[in-house]
Amino acid sequence: MNNQANKQASKNTLLTKIIFAILLALIILTLVLKTQQTNTQQTVIDKNTYIEFPDRKPLPIVTLAQADTDGFSTSKIKGKWHILYFGYTFCPDICPLELTVLQQMMEILRKDIATSDLPQILFISIDPERDKPEQVKKYVAAFDSSFMGLTGKQDALTALASPFGIAWMKDAVPSTQESKDNNFYTVSHSTTLLLVNPDSKVAGMFPAPHSAKAMAQAYKNSIKKEKVY
């Protein structure tokens, strides 16, 4: 009788141990899977946010138009990081959105990194026919007072942007009388942002769609990596 009770007790202990081991294994498995999932998500965000250029072409030197100056040579784009965006002020949808995202990214970076490491945002109008330098300056300042607004002749703009796959095309003026009278055309354009390093080399690009948080993180990673070189 006593022997039987001992056997039963031993059986129960074994069962408890097995259950405990299974539970422990399940907890470990869940934790491992969760960590793997988090890592995968991070990789996906980085891949879609920033693409590094392995060849690091130098930024072409052209002269652009800037308000209150005789011209802006792109040779001045050095000594700090720059982000270049090609858009136009008549754009009602994408350009205001992009400038807002860039402003939000700057807000994050201002909290996280040294002022000397902050990028200079350059908004370059690809619609010089309507966008005068003074107008571009005022337009970008409404989003962030640190943003610089530039424009230029079409050949200079093309020489600057096309080596990096950035293109635009003036759309036909809609056939309505009001559109014709007011020259209300739109411009189809790329929304890729270029990242230029302090040596005036194009380090990479941020393809659309853009998220302020993801871009800020990718930017921080990028400048950290550059410092290691």
Binding site: A142, P174, F184, S188
Partner: protein, 147 residues
């Protein structure tokens, strides 16, 4: 006496409930969160965003839009093809039966062109939306700093 009073009260309640339901039944077309971004001092064009909800059993199209204070107003759609963003004029935008269409960045928007007056943050822009079934809906677009 009590029975007829009870019948009367119940009938009255049913009638009242049916009336409440009739009052709260949604409009044929509902416009939600109509808004534009506060323009800068040099802004020449604005994008209008909203949600258009069709509560009917029939497909309805938004066929035109009118607003004062602009040289021209049109229905537009932004198309992203191979990384190039292009805007196209739309003659009509279909709103499915019992469905909705979201006017948002990178998609449908109302294109307000040639601002004829100042639009300040918090202000309202009266806009008339014209649908294929003939109804005209007057909507106030809110001018917001962030859209």
């Amino acid at each position: 006496m009590y029975k007829s009073l009870r019948t009367f009260v119940i009938s009255f309640m049913i009638l009242l409930l049916s009336q409440i339901q009739a009052c709260s039944s949604p409009e044929k077309i509902e416009i939600i969160d109509a808004r534009v971004r506060t323009p800068t001092s040099v802004t020449k064009a604005l994008g209008g965003f909203m949600i258009v909800k069709n509560n009917t059993q029939n497909l309805i199209s938004l066929v035109d839009v009118k607003a004062e204070g602009f040289k021209q107003v049109m229905l537009h759609e932004t198309i992203n093809k191979d990384g190039m963003h292009r805007m196209e004029h739309r003659e009509k935008i279909l709103i499915p039966a019992k469905g909705k269409v979201i006017f948002q960045h990178g998609s449908y928007h109302i294109m307000f062109m040639g601002l004829l007056k100042e639009f300040k943050s918090g202000g309202k822009i009266p806009v008339t939306l014209i649908f294929s079934d003939g109804q005209e809906k007057r909507v106030q677009f809110i001018v917001k700093d962030s859209v």
